[in-house]
């Protein structure tokens, strides 16, 4: 928890987080699902059956179990049913550059993850180098429940204050370097999303934000959705979570800028 400046809310105190070691999650936060041990065959069946988004699946070849973070909505139901096998960690699952990297296996490996402020500073340096101080983002809602929007909007509040890293949200895709897309790409938004993508000048990066954008999430692939942003436009970075917290969102942006540097634009 942040320490509120008790001098007075309408005074001139600084609210922005500056403690480098503080990663802000509370210990109760449902950040990621982790396997404690290899599940037995019976446990696998139960887990597969109860997961509402089919994020848990067994792999026949090596007899292991996989967890697709791109589908997981962090309901914590698997932990309730099989607490011996599944653990909920407060450290959130991290963004990746490819869809299949979002899948964890029952042989446990936790991603190393840095505090918000540190990621932001790294990001700032790279943006300075690449874009001459500023990275412009256009957010597109392609059918989200508004949960991801709340978190993206939180990046602009005085506590996360993303503008100090040289990142800002712009009003038109024509001004944007990055498209931040949420939602399962509803059928009614498909054309609008495609046209927004086309209107964004090259080079451009598309980031799929949240479980819905990565895989369709709980809404899946139905008559009304397309089951993920990558079915409509090419995606460069996937950010898991339902919804992903602000710190994971900046991590995703860092990954996107890295990718742009590697691709040599």
């Amino acid at each position: 928890m942040i320490k509120a400046s008790r001098k007075g809310i309408v005074g001139n105190g600084v609210e922005t987080i500056k403690d480098l070691s503080n990663s802000l999650e509370s210990k109760n936060y449902r950040g990621s699902v982790v396997f404690k041990v290899d599940p037995t065959d019976d446990q696998k069946k139960i887990l597969e059956n109860i997961c509402p988004t089919k994020a848990l699946f067994s792999i026949k070849e090596n007899n292991a179990m996989g967890l697709d973070n791109g589908k997981c909505i962090m309901c914590g139901y698997c932990n309730e049913v099989a607490s011996k096998v599944i653990e909920i960690k407060s450290k959130p699952a991290m963004p990746t550059k490819a869809r299949n990297q979002l899948i964890d296996f029952s042989s446990p490996q936790l991603s190393t993850e840095k505090p918000y402020e540190q990621i932001g500073n790294e990001l700032n340096k790279k943006i300075q180098k690449m874009f001459g101080r500023s990275l412009a983002i256009r957010q597109v809602d392609a059918g989200s429940c508004n949960g991801c929007e709340i978190e993206i909007a939180a990046l602009n509040n005085p506590i996360y204050d993303i503008e100090r890293f040289g990142i800002h949200f712009v009003a038109s895709p024509r001004h944007a370097d990055v498209l931040l897309v949420t939602g399962p790409a509803s059928r009614n938004m498909e054309i609008a999303l495609r046209r927004t993508y086309e209107a964004t000048p090259n080079p451009k990066i598309v980031i799929a934000v949240g479980a819905c954008a990565c895989s369709g999430g709980i809404f899946g692939d139905t008559y009304a959705t397309t089951g993920g942003i990558d079915k409509v436009v090419p995606v460069d970075v996937y950010i898991p979570g339902c919804p992903p917290r602000p710190q994971v969102l900046v991590q995703g942006l860092l990954l996107a800028v890295d990718r742009m540097i590697k691709n040599g634009i």
Binding site: V10, Y77, I88, G143, N188, T196, T222, T225
Partner: protein, 536 residues
């Protein structure tokens, strides 16, 4: 629930229409009248005009496979009673429209036309609503024969907006991708200079097929779906869904669970109202106030996280109770945070109210006409801002809200007088939200003396097929209604959701008529409408 109320209305309708009613039955606070299709408009008209009831929703379901054809339920809300008028639709797949007598019925009828392919005869507007013009004709998603995964092709067609013609009239199309970090929708302004002559909204861009999807899911999984109807109304929507199932299985949830539901419901209201007030401040060009309110919103979201494990309160409810406990340690945290935040909130509001430029910007902007508000059946803050006194927490007490409604006769009178004075502009909505936040702090404090019992009671393993019930809750936007009919093997036969936004969206077209285009964002924010909750 007041039994006499229910019986009085039941008797009144039965006396008046005894010849037309083929069957009557009661279910908790619901009373159902089965009537013939042709008699329906007369009865609905009587309930609406003479009983002065509000049309709450219209529910259609496809019972063809179970030998019943299509069934339509017209649900009216009168005080603490829900009156259902139930009709079966015949072979010609059409039903008489009641939109001309009850204007709020128009949207429901268009929805039924899109999703079930039943024609509302007499509805002046039969353009597509939920399924946009690219959807091929003759395919209806909510019919039982339609498979969830079907992907029909696209057809080329254009949506007909209302055209305003005349010298100097311009059109401004806005959306579906907006300039801010918000959800998608299309607005078509017809303007003369800066003045808005007409506004037409086009929504349902975020239609995700929630109602159809629920029919393929398990009862427990639909709970997670209901939380994601609108991310910021997760507690209200899941509470309404749980209450519907609990009503069907006739379980009473433990007192501790009731109080925890109340606490989380109010926490949700506070953080969203803080966000909306911040948005109003931004749109009135006063970013300082917005920044301060956003700090409070963030602190509240961090409190949410410490309590429930999710920053936007996902995973609080469970059918039969709650999943998330509030320990003694949490109680201390809540008390501490709430007292800090209510202090700071007072200070910010005092500051905002002392800025004459801010107050002037809000006063008289986005005024809603009371008669129109009545006809469109608005709910929540939008209804209360014009003196339509509806609040599900008081009208249909759920969770532990009945414990908090203790007004003296004098206070009740004052409340009535105050309601009469309300003018329906953005400033009134601002003030109502401020008051509601302060009330919520009080309700949370009062609810913290939790009873020492279980978090949930288990519900019966097998629920009787084709039993149905209506669950309702008050989100920060207003009443949210969830109607569930159980199918075979504990599946869901039909899940109908009507959130507050569905009722409130159409009022925006009226609210902006006396304003200029730059006022639109402010009016929109002050009404606080959800796209996702509307589109489903």
């Amino acid at each position: 629930m007041n039994k006499t109320n229910l019986e009085n209305y039941a008797n009144e309708i039965t006396d008046k229409f005894s010849k037309m009613i083929t069957k009557t039955y009661q279910n908790n606070d619901e009373i159902h009248f089965n009537v013939e299709l042709n008699d329906m408009p007369k009865i609905c008209d009587y309930i609406y005009k003479n009983l002065n009831a509000r049309l709450a929703t219209i529910i259609c379901s496809d019972k063809q496979k179970n030998g019943g054809g299509f069934v339509i339920r017209y649900v009216f809300e009168k005080e603490d009673v829900f009156i259902f008028v139930v009709v079966s639709v015949g072979q010609d797949l059409s039903f008489p429209s009641i939109a001309l007598q009850i204007p709020s019925a128009a949207l429901y009828e268009r929805e039924i036309k899109d999703m079930f392919g039943l024609i509302p005869t007499g509805n002046p507007d039969t353009r597509p609503l939920v399924l946009h013009e690219h959807w091929p004709e003759g395919i209806y998603p909510l019919r039982k024969g339609f498979k969830l995964e079907t992907k029909p092709g696209r057809q080329e067609k254009e949506y007909q907006f209302l055209k305003v013609q005349g010298e100097g009239i311009n059109e401004i199309p806005v959306g579906p991708v907006h300039a801010g970090i918000i959800e998608p929708g299309h607005f078509r302004f017809s303007i003369l200079g800066e003045n808005i002559i007409n506004l037409e909204t086009r929504l349902f861009y975020t239609h995700k097929g929630i109602e159809k999807l629920a029919e393929s899911m398990k009862l427990d999984d639909v709970l997670f779906l209901s939380e994601r109807i609108a991310g910021d109304e997760s507690v209200a929507n899941s509470t309404a869904y749980c209450q519907a199932i609990e009503k069907i299985s006739q379980v009473e949830i433990p007192n501790r669970a009731k109080k925890i539901r109340t606490i989380f419901g109010e926490l949700e209201r506070i953080y969203n109202h803080a966000g909306t007030l911040a948005g109003i401040s931004t749109d009135a060009s006063f970013p300082f106030g917005a920044a301060r309110l956003n700090i409070l919103k963030e602190r509240l979201m961090q409190l949410n996280e410490s309590l429930s494990g999710s920053r936007i309160l996902f995973g609080v409810n469970k059918i039969g109770g709650v999943r998330c406990n509030i320990t003694d340690e949490n109680k201390k945290l809540i008390l501490k945070t709430v007292s800090e935040i209510s202090d700071d909130f007072e200070k910010i509001i005092h500051l905002l109210k002392s800025k004459s430029s801010f107050m002037d910007r809000l006063r008289g902007t986005g005024t809603i006409p009371k008669k129109t508000a009545h006809e469109l059946g608005v709910v929540g803050v939008v209804a209360r801002c014009i003196g339509i006194d509806v609040d599900t927490r008081r009208d249909h007490p759920y969770a532990s809200y009945s414990l908090h409604d203790h007004k003296t006769p004098q206070q009740l009178m004052q409340h009535k007088i105050e309601m009469e004075k309300r003018t329906g502009d953005a400033l009134t909505r601002f003030e109502i939200r401020v008051n509601e936040v302060q009330d919520s702090f009080g309700i949370i404090r009062e609810s913290l003396d939790l009873d020492d019992d279980a978090l949930f009671t288990s519900i019966p393993v097998h629920l009787e097929p084709f039993r149905s019930a209506l669950g309702c809750a008050e989100s920060h936007r207003g009443q949210t209604l969830h109607w569930v009919m159980i199918g075979e093997n504990n599946s869901i036969f039909r899940y109908k959701v009507r959130t507050a936004s569905f009722c409130n969206w159409s009022i925006i077209e009226q609210a902006v008529l006396n304003d200029i285009v730059p006022d639109f964002p402010l009016v929109n924010k002050s009404l606080d409408l959800s796209y996702s909750g509307n589109d489903l």
